[in-house]
């Protein structure tokens, strides 16, 4: 696939001699590629694998929660005597599963798929660029990320097992935890570094490499969302990298950054200098981790915008409002973090400050959701597989967002903090929220990436099964939380209030296993369509944004002729036009 492209007035900076058509080796083409599309697929596939792996960890946990102390048939023996003595889950293993489920889903699954996968693949195409600004840096990002992932998974084999102090790794517990925690920290350093390099690439690309005619106000909302996300990653991750370094020092070099004086563990005074502060970790961790949850949701909102506009055959309602909201949201996300720390003994002044900022941040979220809902009104809706997922995102995100309010208010948070209510809240946002949007993205952009359609019927089955299971899993958790059931609890039945909601644990677990099975149509569809899916041309969805001008799949350099942008991103159903869509890249007439 040879490509012609005009240089944009730059000197030929590459030391490559012109644009020779020499073929790259297998390794340079598919493994150590600098092409954003290849790297996007690498991230995407890796992330999907880890999403399934992380989900499997949860499916194991759900056995213990549904049937505490019962041996797990077949699988129990396979996992060995340390993890599952006599087939019964050991508490330490339960904790490992919990910590690693969270870590893997967030850092090895959702963000790499949303940003590394979709961001890398789609953004340069949507802005009419030949690639990212720094292709080799992009390759480096992935190849720093992958070792981080492998190290993270290998930590299960460390003596004492994987990290088991929650994905939040609070000291003092994490400071004294087994070796797996050190490996967790080292993995995080690699993954964070990868993310920082990537975020630099995204920002420079979006600002500098937009095609002719593509002003900021003509960018697809997906690109705005990715730009804000990149800034969140750039500026919020370093404090966690710093904190990880400090925790590594505590664990490996015997420092006391997070260890207070006089700490007694198992009846013995800890032999360290002391003088440290466990809350320091919490501040540095949540300084990242709160913006991180917006990293989880923003690309999803971007995908939803694209899919809804395309499948309602209408422009997105309130485009400018959406852009202002997402920028404001990104900014506010830096000043709310201590709402995760209401129970740490902060005084009322600072608690009130964080409560106030938290309430304020709900406003742009509601605005964004409202714009999306308004976008449906009066639309000529096609309920394709991606559209089903994108539409379902709306009420799911609403539930997730609304249930966040009692957590953001200090008074109610006193009761609900660290209960299953919290788990219900954030899973509604990330699971039938972000994950659904990501599925929508897969179904929507799969034709662009592969040149084949995914099977619609299987997609609909995947959607409905997943949607129903999600409700059975996460809705009961609110009730468990309101009953006072703590999270990260190995055996809920030790407490009377736990026993009172134990029946719900069976429902949830069945839902979780059902959700696992519901992914089979997706996995089958994904691979089957690669082989025998219906072939498509450049624009199978009759969409308006720039990526649909490129071939499916695009070749090296992406576009056959230099793209020029003539109009706004969502010119659907423009009165007086022959077709119900006017692509950005099509000249008048």
């Amino acid at each position: 696939m040879s490509v012609e492209h005009h240089s944009h007035g730059n000197g030929h900076g590459h030391s490559q001699e012109g644009h020779g058509h020499h073929e790259l080796s297998f390794w340079r083409k598919y493994v150590f590629s600098v092409d954003h599309k290849v790297i996007g697929i690498q991230y995407g596939v890796t992330a999907l694998v880890f999403l399934f792996f992380g989900f499997t960890l949860m499916m194991l946990m759900r056995w213990q929660l549904a049937y505490p102390g019962q041996p797990l048939p077949v699988i129990g023996k396979l996992l060995g005597e340390t993890a599952m003595p006599g087939g019964v889950m050991a508490p330490e293993f339960y904790n490992q599963l919990g910590a690693m489920h969270g870590t893997i889903m967030v850092f090895l699954g959702v963000v790499p798929l949303a940003v590394g996968g979709f961001g890398n693949f789609v953004v340069p195409l949507q802005i009419g660029a030949p690639d990212m600004a720094f292709p080799r840096l992009n390759m480096a990002s992935y190849w720093v990320f992958l070792p981080g992932c492998i190290l993270m998974i290998l930590s299960f084999l460390a003596p004492g097992g994987a990290a088991q102090s929650g994905w939040t790794s609070y000291p003092p517990l994490s400071d004294i935890a087994p070796t797996g925690q050190t490996l967790w920290l080292l993995s995080m350093v690699l993954i964070i570094t990868s993310s920082l390099l990537g975020s630099i690439n995204f920002i420079v690309t979006i600002v500098q490499l937009r095609a002719k005619g593509l002003s900021y106000w003509r960018l697809p909302f997906f690109v705005h969302a990715q730009l804000v996300t990149a800034f969140l990653l750039l500026l919020a991750f370093p404090p966690l990298e710093a904190a990880s370094l400090l925790q590594l020092m505590d664990r490996v070099a015997g420092t006391s950054f997070f260890l207070p004086s006089g700490l007694v563990i198992s009846g013995e005074q800890l032999k360290v200098a002391g003088g440290g502060n466990p809350l320091l970790w919490q501040h540095l961790f949540w300084f990242l981790a709160h913006p991180e949850v917006y990293v989880l949701i923003l690309p999803a909102m971007g995908i939803v915008a694209e899919v809804i506009a395309n499948n309602t055959r209408k422009p997105i309602w309130g485009y400018r409002l959406l852009v202002y909201s997402v920028v404001f949201l990104g900014f506010m996300s830096f000043v709310v973090w201590a709402h995760h720390m209401f129970m740490t003994g902060m005084g009322t002044t600072m608690s009130t400050f964080f409560q106030t900022t938290t309430m304020i941040i709900s406003i742009p979220s509601v605005v964004i959701l409202t714009c999306f809902i308004m976008s449906l009104y009066g639309g000529n809706i096609r309920f394709t597989a991606p559209m089903l997922f994108a539409t379902a995102f709306l009420p799911m995100f609403a539930i997730g967002g609304l249930t966040g309010l009692p957590l953001g208010l200090t008074a109610s948070d006193i009761y609900l903090h660290d209960t299953f209510y919290v788990i219900g809240h954030f899973h509604y946002v990330v699971a039938p929220g972000t994950l659904f949007a990501l599925f929508a993205g897969v179904y929507y952009w799969y034709p662009k990436a592969t040149g084949k359609r995914m099977n619609e019927a299987l997609g609909k089955v995947h959607f409905w099964l997943s949607f129903v299971c999600m409700q059975f899993i996460f809705m009961p958790m609110f009730f468990q939380g309101m009953a006072g059931l703590s999270r990260r609890l190995y055996d809920p039945t030790v407490y009377a209030h736990g026993r009172g909601v134990q029946a719900l644990n069976v429902v949830i677990s069945l839902g979780a296993w059902g959700l696992g099975l519901s992914q089979i149509p997706f996995i089958v569809n994904f691979f089957m369509s690669l082989k025998s899916g219906v072939r498509v041309a450049e624009n199978p969805w009759n969409a308006t944004t720039l990526e649909w001008a490129a071939p499916s799949p695009p070749g090296h350099g992406n576009f056959l002729t230099e793209p020029v942008v003539y109009r706004e991103p969502y010119e659907y159903s423009v009165p007086g036009k022959a077709t119900d869509y006017s692509p950005q890249f099509q000249a008048e007439g």
Binding site: M1, H5, H8, G9, N10, G11, H12, G13, H14, S15, Q16, G18, H19, G20, H21, H22, L24, V34, A129, P130, D131, A133, F134, P135, L137, L196, S199, I200, N201, I203, V204, V207, Q208, L209, L235, A236, F237, P238, P239, E241, A242, A243, L245, L246, M249, A253, G254, T255, S256, F257, A273, G275, G276, N277, L280, H283, L284, F287, H556, G557
Partner: protein
């Protein structure tokens, strides 16, 4: 399929006025500000909570750490910043051999800095003052250690530009000059961090 030509790699973008690399390096420095900012925040939190500082001793920071050596190192880094600027200026003035002289001086001064730090660390270890000794030493070693790693990174980049990287001067001097400028931005930042580290750790 060869590598794609990326616009604005060398020439400045018509609207933003900068080439991609310069933008990229400033964004990287922004993230570094947050990294060291978080560490300074940790220093503030731990130090203000301590009954007295340095903890567990009557000595002052300036009595535990070697102020003359620290001052010398500060001067070394400041000098390496001017040599770095002059290296870039030599590129702008089209003089490759001058560039190599000044860049060589920058790398040499950086190595001197590390050598001095080696002696400082060795002296501390000799007196059994490891990071685990107390939070004063923990903070000292982490902050100067991470800073030192950044110096090493700078040495690697600058040495590359001095040697293999300088071949680019023959094919694309403007691109090479940009690279030197970007490396310089990183290097000045490393100097900048030390400008705050030195009084915070040694003098206060």
């Amino acid at each position: 399929m060869s590598e794609t030509a990326i616009p604005w790699m060398v020439k400045p973008h018509p609207v933003t006025g900068i080439p991609n690399g310069k933008f990229g390096i400033w964004l990287f420095l922004a993230s570094e500000v947050m990294l060291f900012g978080a560490l300074f925040s940790s220093y503030v939190l731990i130090r203000t909570a301590a009954p007295h500082w340095p903890p567990g001793t009557d000595q002052l920071s300036s009595e535990i750490l070697n102020v003359p050596l620290g001052t010398f190192n500060t001067a070394v880094l400041i000098t390496s910043s001017i040599t770095m600027v002059l290296a870039w200026a030599s590129c702008k003035m089209g003089n490759l051999s001058r560039f190599k002289m000044w860049m060589g001086a920058t790398v040499l001064l950086a190595v001197v800095f590390l050598v001095v730090k080696y002696f400082e660390y060795a002296d501390k270890f000799h007196h059994d003052h490891f990071p685990s000794h107390d939070n004063f030493f923990a903070i000292y070693f982490v902050l100067t250690g991470l800073h030192g790693l950044h110096i090493v990174g700078g040495i690697i980049v600058n040495t590359y530009l001095l040697t293999a990287g300088s071949k680019m001067w023959n094919t694309d001097p403007e691109h090479f000059t940009n690279r030197v400028e970007n490396a310089g931005l990183y290097w000045h930042f490393v100097d900048l961090v030390w400008i705050f580290l030195f009084p915070s750790l040694y003098l206060l």
